[in-house]
């Protein structure tokens, strides 16, 4: 990989964060992580990631949704691709998809936990190719 891309993993489950980190680092990505929305915002302000993997239900049931809205409303971060990786479909009966849900859920794609490494890496590669990285803040 010519340029090392940074992926931010936002999830309150440390095992999910760690296993995702192993998979992504093995594929040549740089990984930063946050256990909640506030930590995620600090991380993004320190270094804008090339893509965010975002869980929905953390300390608050819709914390991930709120963070995605906040980022999409901020011109500095609006173009960071977001993949929602969540087990929420099991709880709500919703099965999110890129085709029908991106209008109101501010994300570029959706994955249901657990995600196979191949699927995760393929989605990330597709999004990084399709979207241009965000401008640096400031």
């Amino acid at each position: 990989m010519a340029e090392e891309k940074t992926i931010l993993v936002v999830d309150d489950d440390p095992d999910i964060v760690e296993s995702t980190r192993v998979v992504l680092e093995s594929a040549g990505y740089r990984v930063t992580s946050a256990a909640n929305a506030a930590e995620a915002v600090s991380c993004i302000e320190r270094q804008v990631p090339d893509l965010i993997l975002l869980d929905i239900m953390m300390a608050e049931p819709t914390e991930g949704f709120h963070l995605s809205y906040k980022l999409r409303d901020d011109p500095l971060y609006a173009k960071i691709p977001i993949i929602i990786v969540s087990g929420i479909s099991g709880k709500t009966g919703f099965n999110f998809s890129r085709e029908k849900d991106t209008d109101y859920v501010k994300a570029d794609d959706f994955l249901d936990k657990p995600v196979s490494p191949q699927t995760l890496l393929s989605k990330i590669a597709t999004l990084l190719e399709r979207k241009r990285g965000p401008r640096k803040p400031g």
């Binding site: 489950d13 296993s19 998979v23 936990k113 657990p114």
Partner: protein, 489 residues
Amino acid sequence: MTQDAGGGRPLGRMEQRMTESELLVRCRWLLRTRWVFATALAGVLALNEWLRLQEMTGPIWVVAALIGLYNFGLTAWTRRLDSALRLQDAEGGTASGRGRIETLVFVQMALDALALTLVLRYSGGIENPLAFFYIFHVTLASILLSRRLSYGLASVATGLVTVIAAGEWSGLLRPHYRFLSGLSNLTAPVEIHSNGPLVICYLAAFACAMYVTTYVATSVAAQLRQREAQLLRTTEALRETSCKLAELEERKSQFMVTAAHQLKSPLAAIVSLINAAATGQISPAKQKEMLGRAVSRAEVAVRQVQELLALARLRTLSPARQSWKVFDFREVLDGVRAAASDREEEKRVKVDFEAPAQPAWVEGSRDDLYDAVMNLVDNALKYTEPRPASEAGTVRVALRPAPCPEPGRSSEGWELTVSDTGIGIPQAELPKLFQDFFRAGNAVRRKIPGTGLGLSIVEQVVRMHGGAIRADSVENRGSTFTVWLPRAP
């Protein structure tokens, strides 16, 4: 709430409204029937003008007109009453309108009886067989009105006929109209009204017919009303049961969805960890770490399944007490003390036990109560973070005799308190503490493992034993769980 017609248990508002609606329907039916009767009377009178069967029909024409007139008034009264009751219902009022509707029906019946009496008076007096028509009034009144008003109407009818009979016999009511005077040349004149003993016999038979009819009809109507009220109550009970069942089904579905989600979290983590371990591009040490984490999560998932099964068993079998025994609750504390002592040193938390000198007899399932107390002590140890040895945390378990803390229950029993000096529970989260899968935010943030089912199990066990449980807590200061169990009889 009011008493029902049959004198049984109080009627609900729905039952009241249904009986009121039924009465109003009958009221409207009476109004319609009266128009038919007034028209028929006018028709008969017109026919009579042609055939000349009855003389002096002028006053009867007036009666027919009066019937039409008061029917207008009664129609307006019925509409106004109906609107008032609908408005009261819309505003959530609960006052019964039955009394007002019964007054309306009684006034209608009394006016009809009076109209019949006038027709009788001007078409032959007591010799006129139309006197039998009073039976219609008293029967209808007995079906629609209370027993008191039904007998009232029978008395009104008897009184009116007595006035005619006595008036005609005494000569106060003159002239005496002859029934079907146009045909009287074909038949021998019937002269009851001028014969005293015959008048008395007539009135006695009439009164007897009125009161016996009222008695029989009101008795049958009361039975029917009782059955109707019973049917309404059964329908209402069925409706309530159906609502409760739907609510239970909804809660069950919600529980299953939540349980599935809670089980999915560790399973998703296990799959992710195994996938990560299998990437082949990590060191053996990292691989081992990943697999170790997967095993820990699997253990949590197994514990969750065990607790779910325990909860399901308790909820399904809670009424079954055949295996319960009377035992000394201190034995449960001894078992918990032995189990807790192993963790005391590991956690650097001191556990104090205090129990009464005399046996603490309770009746119930020793195993379930042991699990419940162990759960509370386990939580106390888990949420009391290890501190420097000099200021070790403390868990206190105390059992003492105490009356039931719930208001209105005077039974004696035992109070078990499990207190700790741990992280506590945020005040706002205390009400949700015994909900299935609920975990306090501060415990989740500290990543203290837990299934969120332990306190549900404890509450279920306590409730199953007829006891009560309460939690008091101050965040960062500690929590106290107080369990009360009834003394064995």
